[in-house]
């Protein structure tokens, strides 16, 4: 073996050792890889926006205009939901471990917005996936609770299941369970500003008998009277053939803004748009035509509707951008968070 060849082999060995050392120095844990805006946000009546974003895996709650988070949690934790109280003085949020399992626990915190005092309200076994303050009473916090986190099919990923509607009263610290539905899925919790009623999206599967019935059942919006939770009724189109995934109530317009599949893009990925449904006239209108993944409609000031667009839907990581528009779906503009 001549000198130059020995030098070449030595060089390969040296470069490999350097690369291995770099690997030990710069490799990231799965939890440290998350960065950027999540789909969790809320809008106050004065236009303030709170949102959850990751910074090198650390989840934090940010307010528009501030680059520093008001709350930041360790890399092994995640923030599942945030909700402003109607009076704008409080922000509730849920924290759990990123590694979710059937033994997961959720901690609900309350952030006092004037002092930024953060206190733990309560902890519960299972996952609390959504929060909503009662617009009629800022001391009353409703939440969706999933009793299990599992996969019911070997080819499905694990998800929270066995959902029910609960509440927590900040004053007397009392927790109440309203329903005993153990729903496979439940989303988009909203509380009526006038009645003792909550609204959720879930499977319309009360009367299913066979596997074909389950397959044919649709996801709809339900009204649940809190004094008689068994008397649920569908407020979205009860015979509509589309699945509704997320929604926003506009009670004064007797309308629901909802998210549904509008079509399939050229890449074979579903395009989700926002629609309105008037529950008096049964009239349906398409609000957005962005041909993207449009999601999470929220009510903002001046009757503006805020919503998210995932620019990388179907990709590895979502890339969210926040937009707003009029209730008629006009004047769409991007909302810059920094």
């Amino acid at each position: 073996m001549n000198k130059s060849f020995k030098f070449l082999i030595g060089g390969i060995g040296f470069v490999t050792i350097v690369f291995i050392a770099l690997g030990f120095m710069f490799a990231k844990d799965e939890h440290e890889k998350q960065n950027g805006l999540t789909s969790i946000y809320d809008v106050l009546a004065d236009g303030s926006i709170a949102y959850v974003a990751f910074e090198d895996g650390q989840p934090g709650i940010y307010f528009t205009g501030n680059e520093k988070p008001v709350v930041q949690k360790p890399v092994d934790k995640t923030i599942l939901e945030i909700s402003f109280s109607k009076d704008g003085k409080k922000l509730a949020y849920v924290v759990t471990k990123k590694e979710m399992s059937s033994e997961s626990e959720s901690a609900v915190h309350l952030l006092q917005l004037d002092t930024l005092e953060d206190r733990l309200l309560f902890q519960d076994t299972g996952l609390i996936t959504e929060l909503a303050f009662d617009p009629k009473d800022s001391e009353m916090l409703f939440y969706l609770h999933a009793a299990t986190f599992t996969n019911y099919s070997p080819i499905a990923r694990e998800h929270p299941h066995d959902f029910d509607v609960h509440s927590y009263h900040l004053g007397d610290q009392k927790r109440t369970k309203y329903t005993n539905l153990k729903k496979y899925s439940m989303r988009s919790l909203q509380v009526s500003p006038t009645d003792e009623t909550v609204y959720v999206q879930m499977d319309d599967d009360a009367n299913v008998q066979t596997a074909e019935d389950v397959y044919a059942s649709r996801q709809r919006i339900f009204e649940i009277p809190l004094h008689a939770p068994d008397q649920q009724s569908v407020i979205s189109n009860p015979v509509g053939e589309e699945d509704i995934y997320d929604f926003l109530l506009l009670p004064e317009r007797e309308e629901i803004v909802y998210q549904a599949v509008a079509g399939t893009g050229p890449n074979g990925i579903f395009e989700y748009e926002l629609f309105t449904f008037n529950w008096k006239t049964y009239e349906t209108k398409q609000l957005t035509s962005l041909k993207e993944h449009t999601a999470k409609p929220r009510r903002g000031p001046d009757n503006r509707i805020y919503f998210l667009v995932d620019r990388n839907f179907g990709g590895r990581e979502p890339v969210y951008q926040l937009y707003r528009m009029s209730e008629e779906g006009k004047d769409i503009e991007e909302v810059l968070l920094h």
């Binding site: 073996m1 060849f5 070449l8 082999i9 390969i12 470069v15 490999t16 690369f19 291995i20 770099l22 690997g23 030990f24 710069f26 490799a27 990231k28 440290e32 890889k33 070997p154 080819i155 590895r316």
Partner: protein, 293 residues
């Protein structure tokens, strides 16, 4: 005199990729050629010293002749092996760094295996060892390389778009080059002395290598699907390897029958094997088309 000639010829033979038997033949041939020249020069009145020097000088420079012989016996083989080893090394480093700094993952065990296998290819190309220069060893090295860099291809596709496009194309080219080298190593470069039906052996090798690549790819696909949807490891996973085992037995038996000059039987097995595979492919394609319809 003979000692000087032996050293001279050894220097020439060392430059070729021949195996031990081929080297021995080549060595004898070159040595006898040199000795004939030596005798001729002595007859022309040269002294022993002069005749020896002139015979070697007229023969040419050892390394140059070795290279020419290598090119004549195995055209472009060394260039292909060098390209494969150098491209593989660079690809391994680039994919590793992209995975580390773009995706945050350090694939250290893969890097070590990829560098070792590429360096082994480089060493055996630049400094061929005659005892290792056999079809079995070279193919084992190439097959290990193909498996290692197939994983590298998966790592390349895993990097964010558009970096993944270039890396995936390079990985594909590296794999194609390695597969081409398996074909030429088996069919052209290293023929077996035990095989009397050379042309038939080449045909049977070609069909079996092609079939083998197909079976390995299908097995890997089903293995991936099984692991994706199964909760834990199950002994049933070994069922997936049955086609591969049958192919190995079938291939070995065809070559054994050919070595015993039982051509008809060898081709019958080859025909049945190919027909079964074509039937399975047709069945799967029809099923897929039926599913789409």
């Amino acid at each position: 005199m003979r000692h000087a000639f032996e050293r001279f010829v050894e220097g020439i033979v060392r430059e070729t990729d021949s195996n031990r038997e081929e080297r021995k033949d080549l060595y004898e041939e070159l040595l006898s050629h040199l000795e004939c020249s030596f005798i001729d020069y002595q007859k022309q009145g040269f002294s022993e010293e002069e005749a020896m020097r002139t015979a070697m000088t007229n023969f040419g420079e050892e390394r140059e002749i070795g290279k020419q012989l290598q090119q004549a016996m195995y055209p472009y083989r060394r260039e292909m092996m060098l390209s494969l080893s150098v491209a593989s090394l660079l690809f391994a480093y680039v994919v590793y760094i992209c995975q580390l700094f773009v995706m945050g993952d350090a694939h250290i065990p893969w890097l070590i295996v990829a560098v070792l296998i590429s360096t082994a290819l480089l060493v055996t190309t630049v400094r061929p060892v005659s005892s290792l220069n056999r079809r079995l060893w070279v193919n084992s090295l190439l097959l290990t390389h193909i498996l290692t860099y197939f994983y590298g291809l998966l790592l390349a596709t895993d990097v964010y778009h558009p970096i993944s496009i270039g890396l995936t194309i390079i990985a594909g080219l590296i794999l194609i080059l390695a597969i081409v080298l398996v074909y030429r190593t088996t069919i052209y470069d290293y023929s077996s002395k035990r095989q009397p039906l050379v042309k038939d052996a080449k045909r049977v090798h070609f069909v079996n290598i092609t079939t083998g690549i197909f079976i390995v790819l299908v097995t890997l696909f089903f293995l991936w699907s099984f692991l994706l949807f199964s909760v834990g490891m199950s002994p049933r996973v070994f069922i997936l390897f049955i086609p591969l085992v049958i192919w190995i037995i079938s291939y070995a038996s065809q070559m054994h029958l050919l070595s015993r000059q039982k051509k008809k039987w060898a081709y019958t097995i080859l025909f049945i094997q190919t027909a079964v595979i074509l039937w399975a492919v047709g069945f799967l394609l029809l099923g897929a088309l039926g599913g789409l319809a």
